[in-house]
């Protein structure tokens, strides 16, 4: 049955008719419903909303305040756990930022200074050289000098310390769970929806429960970060393990490996580069969380961003935000180089011991020298304030100049978009009767992917309806839908350019990394100054973020096309344009479709940010729940976001299958 549905695409006329019907319903459903007294089919009655919100809140309070294992309560157990995690966290903070302290609070005395700025820079440069050579060493050097030069050092080290601890925790847990998923297929099936939720429920939705359970401070921030950053590590672990060639496994079985030997000696080493992709994702996700982590006691660069913007100091916010980007680029390039590093054949030399390890020797020497020297020459320990430079006043001036000279033009653009795109789509989405939308999901799910998909879609959207989040969900869908569309229109050509034009790809990579890790808040303030708060500003913010996976996957997809086929195209006399449109793009299409699902995820993850500029969507619900400390509402709205993500992701996946099968 399912097969039949898949292989025989329905006539286009059917879908066209559905679309036309939806359009007319969006406009006439309200009067029609009133005339037939079927309003309840159009607007879900408030009285029917299932009040699970307060029950969730109550359950949460019970869990936190009373749940007990007899000898100790759940909360005590969690507090003990966070006490354990605090040990490495404090060590990292003391080693990088504050110095080893004796005593606490304002009585604390520094008994050992932190690693000096020179030492940290040299260590990273040396690691860069080890991983890839001089070019990377220079990148590391430039990045860390930027942090010192622009006065971001102390905060950057706080942020680096929390990443330094989060990373091994996240990687270890992710690796263990990934191996478990690989080993037991039942566990894999159980984890799949859990991972989807972890990735899509906005962090704000579970921030307050985490604070209650783990206490206020860097550890809570770390746990929130790990929850968010874990799924890609697990995904990549299972993917990498699956990709190990069968010959290797057979070889292992032949020589009589035990299961644990097989894992340790054969599977993990051969999956190493795939695993490192996961590590890289954990780093990038942790840096995404810097702002939120700073709200619950992690401090560092994220806090600087919030504090500057609260004063409308756009320049200071921009510099702290760029410091996050610089840190991200340094760590990203380093971890990727380590992932793809081919160990050189070991040279047997008879040089004196330290010269065999020149880089380690250099690092130890610099650490020792700056530690000792720092006692007399302050500049060796901390970068002198007098040497710091700042561009902060120029950013504010720049925004002011644009505001004074181009506001009218920008406003015309905004009004054009509002009138022709945003408002009509919004009216359409809000006008659709809920019963029709759920019916469409069921029908579309059935036709595209069989009854399972239909059931899933109906149930998840049913939850949104029953809990009274319908209208907010429709506004979220409209905002994300329009943004994804724009992101594709902008991102796909840029991705093609990045893949086709030499030299452009490097620029594009930095631009994409910047868009992904620069805290949205930094550019949201100038956007609001130029476009006022409202849907258009939200659209800009979401599109800027959602364009990242579009560019990445397009460029990546085109890069993967086999050179033989391109060669063949050239032989039969295709022009460059023909090669692109007839060979490369069709072959890259499946990969680009994978990117679509990521784009939707990225767009949805921005909903909480759009709430800042006054949209009345699910993000606003999550945000309101946070400020009213209402864990029930937060969780419901958060789950609604996740459900939209899951349903659209599944639909996009089957639609991609369809398209590639057809083309």
């Amino acid at each position: 049955m399912q097969r039949a549905a898949l292989s025989k695409p329905l006539p286009a006329a059917f879908w066209l008719a559905l679309a036309a019907l939806s359009l007319s319903l969006a406009f006439y459903a309200k009067p029609l419903g009133e005339a037939l007294s079927l309003e309840w089919l159009v607007d879900y009655p408030k009285l029917w909303i299932v009040p699970i919100q307060s029950q969730i809140s109550a359950a949460m309070h019970w869990l936190i305040d009373e749940a007990s294992f007899g000898l100790f309560t759940l909360r005590e157990a969690l507090r003990f756990l966070s006490g354990l995690m605090e040990v490495p966290m404090n060590l990292a903070i003391e080693g990088l930022a504050t110095g080893l302290l004796s005593g606490t609070g304002s009585r604390a005395v520094e008994i050992f200074p932190p690693l000096s700025w020179i030492a940290v820079t040299v260590i990273f440069a040396a690691t860069g050289h080890y991983a890839k050579g001089w070019a990377l060493a220079f990148v590391q050097l430039a990045c860390f000098l930027y942090l010192a030069l622009f006065g971001q050092w102390h905060s950057a080290m706080l942020t680096l310390a929390s990443i330094a601890v989060t990373l091994p925790f996240g990687v270890a847990v992710g690796l263990a769970l990934g191996i478990a998923c690989h080993t037991w297929s039942g566990f894999d099936r159980f984890m799949r929806p859990v991972l989807d939720l972890m990735q899509t429920v906005p962090v704000f939705a579970y921030l307050v429960p985490i604070l209650f359970m783990f206490g206020f401070g860097p550890v809570s921030a770390m746990i929130a970060t790990i929850i968010y950053a874990l799924p890609p590590m697990i995904h990549n672990t299972t993917l990498a393990l699956k990709a190990v060639p069968d010959e290797l496994r057979e070889f292992g079985t032949m020589v009589g490996c035990t299961p644990s030997q097989m894992m340790r000696k054969i599977l993990l080493p051969s999956a190493l580069s795939g695993l490192m992709v996961g590590v890289n994702q954990v780093i990038m996700s942790s840096l995404n969380m810097v702002i939120i982590a700073s709200m619950i006691g992690a401090g560092g660069l994220g806090y600087d961003v919030l504090f500057s913007l609260r004063r409308l100091d756009i320049g200071a916010g921009m510099e702290a935000g760029l410091a996050i980007v610089v840190l991200a680029i340094a760590l990203d390039r380093l971890s990727q180089a380590l992932a793809t590093r081919h160990p050189p054949a070991r040279k047997t030399t008879s040089r004196a011991f330290p010269l065999n390890y020149p880089r380690s020797f250099l690092c130890v020497a610099v650490i020792a020298a700056t530690w000792i020297g720092g006692n007399w020459i302050e500049a060796l320990q901390t970068f002198p304030e007098g040497w710091q430079i700042s561009t902060r006043q120029y950013w504010g001036e720049l925004v002011k100049a644009i505001n004074l000279n181009f506001y009218d033009q920008l406003e015309a653009v905004k009004l054009f978009f509002l009138a022709t795109l945003l408002l009509p789509v919004k009216g359409f989405m809000l006008g659709l009767p809920w019963a029709w939308v759920i019916g469409l999901i069921a029908l579309g799910g059935y036709k595209l992917g069989g009854w399972r998909l239909a059931l899933l879609g109906t149930m998840l959207f049913g939850f949104i309806l029953l809990t009274g989040q319908w209208d907010y969900a429709m506004i979220s869908l409209y905002l994300c839908g329009v943004s994804v569309l724009l992101a594709i229109l902008i991102g796909a050509p840029l991705g093609i350019l990045a893949a086709e034009v030499k030299g452009f790809s490097r620029v594009m990579r930095v631009a994409v990394d910047t868009l992904q890790t620069l805290p949205t808040f930094v550019y949201l303030i100038p956007v609001v100054m130029l476009f006022n708060s409202g849907d258009f500003s939200a659209l800009i913010a979401v599109t800027l973020y959602a364009v990242v996976p579009v560019i990445r996957y397009t460029a990546h997809g085109l890069d993967q096309v086999s050179p033989n086929l391109i060669e063949a195209g050239k032989m039969i006399g295709c022009s460059k344009w023909q090669i692109l449109t007839k060979i490369k793009l069709p072959l890259a299409a499946p990969h680009m479709m994978l990117g679509l699902s990521q784009t939707i995820m990225f767009a949805l993850s921005m909903l909480v940010i759009t709430a800042l500029v006054g949209t009345r969507d699910l993000g606003q619900q999550v945000y309101t729940a946070l400020s009213q400390a209402d864990p029930g509402l937060g969780l419901i709205a958060g789950l609604s976001v996740a459900f939209i993500a899951i349903v659209t992701d599944r639909f996009a996946a089957v639609a991609a299958k369809w398209l590639t099968a057809g083309g």
Binding site: L101, F307, Y623
Partner: protein, 321 residues
Amino acid sequence: MNSSHNRRPAHWSVVGGSTALLAAMLGLASPSSAESTDPIKLTLNDWTGQHISATIMGKVLESKGLSVEYVQADYIAQFAGLASGDLDVAMEIWDTTAKQLVADGVATGKIEDLGGTGMKAREEWWYPSYMKERCPGLPDWTALKSCAEAFSTPETAPKGRYVGGPVAWGGNDEERIAALGLDFEVVHPGTDSIIFAELESAYQRKAPIMIWGYEPHWLNAKYKGEFVEFPPYAPECYTDPAWGINPDATYDCGKPTGMIRKVAWSGVKEQWPTAYDAIKNFQISNAEMSEMVSRVDLKGEDLNTVVDGWIAANSAVWQKW
């Protein structure tokens, strides 16, 4: 189980850390002495005035021989930390934004209200002075009846556009507009940085703008402008439709002013009695605070220097706390 036994300083030394850990593992509780030597954790939220209050308090406590630690925390999220004793004192909790959270916390017995700071929060509709020429009769609210359009933007015209506060702040502005018969549309940004970004933008262009302004803040130091004068608030105005100009509607008046109070974890009294008294007695005026805030935010002076100046000039005041 007294939660004070679970307290951990944020920055452990290695040695101190492992002993505390050991104690936690064995469930040991150190007998509480008269005044704990653990640091008192004061929260730092994300606005300058709050940093000044916290730093003044911190310096005063230090001068009394207590150990102080500052922890960066979100204004709302800090309540979870205060309730669990992870954080000890929040120096500026505004009745206008967090009255309910304080009431809820006090009701559970985990949070203690340590009374007003001496500062009064005022919030109301606010406009820059240049709007007075376009809407004569301001600051009296009746002027708005006839010149809503002067405050409009293309998206809201002919209605005026009012940039209100985040939904979570409440404020009842939609009801106020209806009750007073004004022709305004409310926009709710999600955070107050956005309100001031809108003001900054409009102010640069001398464009129409009406925002939710509040004091103490650098608003009136940086920009020329004033609050709209609505019929003064009375509690009955919010509950009794018959009260006020519009006999059929509530909210036909301005917004209430509110205290800015100090809020603490309920264990502070027992653990640091001296500090508890000093925090309770902390008092500062709106004028003093506004002056310090504008020196830091607008003139770019160092916050610690400004606070030290206040400490030096007012020793007679804080010695008594």
